[in-house]
Amino acid sequence: MRDRLLEALKKSTADYAEIRVEFTDNTALTYRGPEIDRAESSSCCGGIVRACTKGGWGTAAFDSVDDLGRQVEEACRCAALAGRSTTELAQVEPVDAERPARLERDFRGVGLDEKVRLMGSYNDIILGAGPAIETSYVAYVDSFRRVHFASTRGAYYMEERPQVGCYLVATARDGALVQRAHFSTGSPTTYGIVVGLEEKAREVAERAQALLKAPQPEGGPHTVILNPKMAGLFTHEAFGHLSEADFIHKNPKLRELMAIGREMGPANLNIIDDGTLSDRVGGHSFDDEGTPTRKTYLIKKGRLAGHLHSIETAARMGAQPTGNARAVRRTDPPIVRMTNTYIDSGNMPVDELFAGVDRGIYACDGVGGQTAFEMFTFSASYGHRIENGQKGELLRDVILTGNVFETLKSIDAIANDLTIPEGLGGCGKESQAPLPVSFGAPHVRIRNVVIGGK
């Protein structure tokens, strides 16, 4: 494949061109209630050529890998249509590498019948957990991607990117009230991640039933403690997306707002994106432009310390590429994305974090979020009241919203228990989803967070 890609790129008439070809095998098995609701597999190949001429990008995405030279010509033709200024792309030492997957336990060696049996056992636990359990959703997914990349700079790599995981969801009902509890996990290295989750299945079933009796929080500002999953989601959604330089580089006002050195939060706040964490799904050796991944400080000691870059945004902003140009599907162009993003550990024991709250809300396990630049909204899977420093009553429908700049400044304590949960991610941007990412944090306390409620 190496020679085929480099040969095809000889047809380039652009300032820069790259070609990425992928072979992907996926399996998805889903229980919904007592039956298997979905059993699907796919095996696809295809890719994309991206070319840059006079600063304009042309792309040619394809499923047929038979005539790659023609795709290079098409991308160069489109680039010529788009380009009107100058091509500015940061230099990266061209790689020449092969990175086969290193799997501790290869999911491809496990039979479909075994995967079904395992998921069926979790499903039985959820469905048998109590009379209020109405239905279940238990899904197994695996994916094995082999990515070949080459550029007109002479770079070539082959990287295998496996991932395997599962979702456990319990739905409980009381009359018209329906409540769900979720757990998900994922790994790029081992099938073992989906084994031995019986206790997690019991937990989600019990929580879904307990949430039926839980009240909603009162709407309005509260002191909130976020658990690591929830703080991780906040970091990713509310702040991480603002650090993606493709939002910033052509937007002078936003560039000013996200200027390096700007004070963003308390002095003990450090936020990091690290694509080198090879045991998390956001970790790879190279991004989809051939840049090696690395650890990037986005906030250091409370001040803005860096952005996430592609080769284009790095050149335009006078920075180094950070290895964050990523594509979801084989036919997608790479765009600036996060990898594994987290708030670094602070030094306060978790108990002290809680002790400082007379009345507040403990928000746990984020299930989703959305941002529009400064504004964010995201949901906790569940929450608890905090009264006199103690975790109290269970709460449902805990939804947080606010302005990220104000919220980061309102962080008043960071615990010493950093956790980056194993998961499958599922980030979406510009119609590219679900991207494997992970995120985490220690427990974090924030004052004056608006909680939605009736």
């Binding site: 295809g46 042309g58 047929s64 380009g83 239905t135």
Partner: protein
């Protein structure tokens, strides 16, 4: 687009059905989709990218001993492998099938989905439309950050089933999108609009998209205190469409059969306000969801879902119809093909004037993260305006809405006589929306 729907492709798929039978499948279908797309992105006054995309997807679904296996690949020469994988899945890990056979060919309603004019739309023309949108919005403020773009898609599909269906169809579509951002200090105004349609007709209106964004920016100039408590809300058509999301989940036959829909057992009951008549119309020419036949080979039909607020029926695909022991309605995934809300009687401008104090909801962030199946919503008002004495007086910030969509849509809902560019959604005023603020 270079067509792949040749006689030999059809023969190859039919051969795939025979292979499935030989491997023990009691029923099978093969669905091929081939798509060709041109797209263009424009950012900060210049073309960011232009591109083409050609993709092909072939899906095999087979039934063996009451189990269903589905497999997908993207090379025509792999049809045998795709079928073999589907068979292997059905044998070892197949999903429960609730039907025995794919339906025999039946009469279908022809629907226009392919336009020569759309097909002829070039990359240059899409770039020009983007440039025009950028220029128009720039006239309002040179400091605006603008991104826009568009695409043109041509696709062809072929479905063959052991029920005897051999049906092909073609579809064209364009879309245009425009996003603008204004920033003053740390205060940002974000707004966007988009259109998508099958025919290159009056709906392809670059000026209208730009004017809507300019109107948003003008209305956002002043920041005002949001209303609080339970308020009246004005929903433009695209916001109303989002408010119907819970209903789409509720009328899904799958969700009903699995016991998850709050609408189960409620057919014939007054679920929504009497002003709401909602139809699924797959036969509207060039609508994005227009189709004659669904992916199981079941003819589609125009059907009323809510008549004057009374729930009429649920939507079933072939498998779910078997599960619920009813007839399929021609709705893949048990979702509406093309939702249409019947208009009201007053012009939208009068609806706005009728509000003494309320909230105009132009954009929401995080809608759909609550228990939407249950109807619960809680969302941030990404872009919203306060209405006082029938006039928009300014933009609100730090505002969240919460409520139950079933309860909100069961109260006093007033719809406008004028509809959006698709002819599917009116403007609406709803009552009793809970608003919380910082």
């Amino acid at each position: 687009m270079r067509s792949v729907l040749t006689a030999s492709t059809e023969a190859r798929l039919k051969q795939g059905l025979e292979e499935a039978s030989r491997l023990g499948a009691s029923a099978a279908k093969l669905h091929l989709r081939h798509e060709d797309k041109l797209e263009c992105e424009f950012e900060a006054g210049e073309v960011k990218s232009a591109g083409s995309k050609e993709t092909l997807i072939c899906t095999a679904e087979v039934l063996i001993n009451g189990s269903k296996g589905t497999s997908t690949g993207n090379r025509l020469e792999d049809v045998s492998t795709i079928v073999e994988r589907a068979v292997a899945l059905a044998r070892t890990a197949g999903s429960a099938a609730h039907f025995d056979a794919y339906p025999a060919p039946a009469d279908t309603t022809p629907v226009e989905t392919r336009s020569e004019r759309t097909l002829a739309l070039s990359a240059d023309e899409i770039i020009e439309a983007s440039r025009r949108m950028d220029e128009l919005v720039k006239t309002y403020g040179a400091d605006l950050y603008i991104r826009c773009g568009g695409d043109r898609t041509a696709s062809e599909s072929l479905l063959v089933t052991t029920g005897g269906v051999c049906n092909s169809w073609e579809r064209t579509a364009w879309s245009l999108g425009l996003f603008a951002q204004r920033m003053r200090g740390t205060d940002m105004v974000l707004t966007h609009d988009q259109r998508a349609w099958g025919e290159l007709d009056g709906t392809y209106d670059v000026e209208a998209i730009a004017e809507r964004l300019i109107e948003d920016m003008r209305r956002a100039e002043t920041i005002v205190e949001p209303p609080s408590g339970r308020v009246k809300a004005y929903l433009p058509p695209d916001t109303l469409a989002r408010f119907l999301f819970a209903l789409v989940l509720g009328i899904s036959g799958r969700n009903v059969a699995k016991g998850e829909s709050p609408l189960r057992d409620r057919v014939g009951e007054q679920v929504l306000a009497p002003t709401l008549t909602i139809i699924d119309d797959p036969h509207q020419p060039f609508a994005p969801g227009a189709r004659s036949i669904d992916d199981d080979g079941v003819p589609t039909q125009r059907q009323t879902l809510f008549e004057n607020g009374v729930l009429q029926r649920f939507l079933y695909d072939l498998d779910t119809a078997g599960l619920a022991k009813t007839e399929p309605t021609g709705n893949n995934g048990c979702t509406p093909n093309n939702l249409v809300v019947q208009p009201g009687t007053q012009p939208s401008a009068e609806l706005l004037k009728s509000i003494d104090d309320g909230l105009f909801i132009r954009g929401l962030i995080g809608f759909g993260q609550s228990n939407v199946m249950n109807g619960d919503v809680s969302a941030n008002v990404g872009l919203g305006f306060r209405i006082k004495n029938g006039e928009i007086v300014g933009r609100v910030k730090d505002t969240m809405i919460a409520g139950n969509l079933y309860e909100l849509l069961a109260k006093n809902v007033v719809l406008s006589a004028d509809l959006d560019y698709t002819g599917c959604f009116p403007h609406a005023v709803i009552d009793g929306l809970a608003v919380s603020t910082k």
